[in-house]
């Protein structure tokens, strides 16, 4: 069994609410993290992301200027982002099903519904560090596999299906 030593990780926290940033920072320092950077909106967050190259991004959804969803889409640009694979944990008050799907389709790694607790935040960090999902790149999507429970064998099956289609219609 493994645990995460947060003192070895660098975090970027993006939230327009100063109190929320303070709470998340306090929890991260409690976990032993030394390097926590902050930004108060999506635009500043994107700049801080390029400057500090964090290991994990924790962002709010609802923010002025541009929000957590738009920020995630910018970070998940495989050809221009400094690290399109970075784990993104979205902290939000939205728990509705359609909102969860929207976040998933933008490329969010994990959702954390408020009110947050030390344990729930630690669990999300542990998940993205210890068991990261493979990333998928298609014409319309780049991000963590949107299916949470895919075994390695299923990627082989997916390959077999792709091969069959290619052999039937001819490879380019």
């Amino acid at each position: 069994m493994f645990r995460v030593d947060c003192s070895r990780l660098r975090f970027l926290v993006i939230d327009d609410n100063g109190y929320m940033r303070r709470i998340i920072r306090t929890l991260l320092h409690g976990f032993g993290t030394r390097e926590v950077f902050e930004a108060e909106d999506g635009a500043a967050g994107l700049e801080a992301f390029a400057t500090h190259l964090p290991d994990v991004v924790i962002t709010d959804w609802s923010m002025p200027v541009f929000d957590g969803i738009e920020l995630t889409k910018m970070i998940r640009q495989p050809d221009t982002s400094p690290n399109p694979f970075v784990p993104i944990i979205m902290v939000t008050g939205y728990a509705e099903r359609n909102r969860v799907f929207e976040a998933r389709d933008a490329g969010v790694s994990e959702m954390l519904v408020k009110p947050i607790s030390a344990k729930s935040l630690y669990q999300r960090i542990a998940k993205v560090v210890l068991n990261p999902r493979p990333f998928i790149r298609t014409e319309n999507y780049f991000g963590p596999d949107r299916r949470h429970l895919v075994k390695a064998d299923q990627y082989k099956t997916r390959g077999a299906a792709s091969n069959f289609i290619n052999s039937s219609i001819g490879s380019p």
Partner: protein, 194 residues
């Protein structure tokens, strides 16, 4: 001719890329895991000591929570005043929604779960109804309720006044949403006939 999925070491960090033609799969190389994973006897991979330390840090911070909650409530009141004082065609719902949404998310951490629930109800109202049709009176009830909960320091669901406030607000919102949906359906029906 069959094309086998290609696997190669992407970016030289152990990340393996498989190419299936229209889809590529990247199996991450475990850079973060190598950087921060340590063996542990804790069941489920949760580091109890780290969580306990973070809980203790939050407890130290909690002395400020009542003042922070006061600031958030004042922000909500101010946002509502600006909203209600603006001409209907110039109302910006953003600051009011964000103030309510923040209380919804944080008030429970600050020790005011009932205020969180009322603010959640207000967020839903602001999210579901178009700005032109928002009932100001109902918004005012929500803002006043959050204010009353905070000023009377009501933190417990067992408080009968709080329970009654939540119940009444929920019923009122459901009625407004239902009436609006009915009006929209009638409007659609009317448009189809002309």
């Amino acid at each position: 001719m069959t094309r086998a999925p290609q696997a190669n070491d992407y970016a030289g960090d152990g990340t393996v890329e498989q190419d299936f033609g229209d889809t590529r799969v990247f199996h991450l190389g475990g850079t973060l895991r190598a950087k921060a994973a340590v063996r542990s006897a804790d069941a489920g991979g949760v580091d109890d000591l780290s969580v306990a330390a973070a809980d203790a840090a939050m407890k130290d911070l909690s002395g400020d929570f009542q003042n922070w909650m006061g600031d958030e409530v004042n922000r909500l009141i101010a946002a509502f005043e600006v909203f209600s004082d603006s001409p209907p065609n110039k109302r910006d719902i953003g600051p009011l929604f964000r103030a309510a949404h923040d209380i919804r998310g944080q008030a429970a951490v600050f020790g005011y779960p009932i205020a969180s629930e009322i603010a959640g109800s207000l967020s839903k109202l602001l999210d579901k109804i178009e700005p032109d049709y928002l009932p100001l009176q109902l918004i005012a009830h929500h803002v006043d309720s959050v204010k009353a909960i905070y000023r009377n320091n009501i933190r417990d669901y067992a408080n009968p006044v709080a329970t009654q406030i939540i119940h009444n607000l929920r019923r009122a919102i459901d009625r407004v949403v239902e009436a609006r949906q009915k009006a929209m359906a009638e409007e659609m029906k009317f448009r189809r006939t002309i």
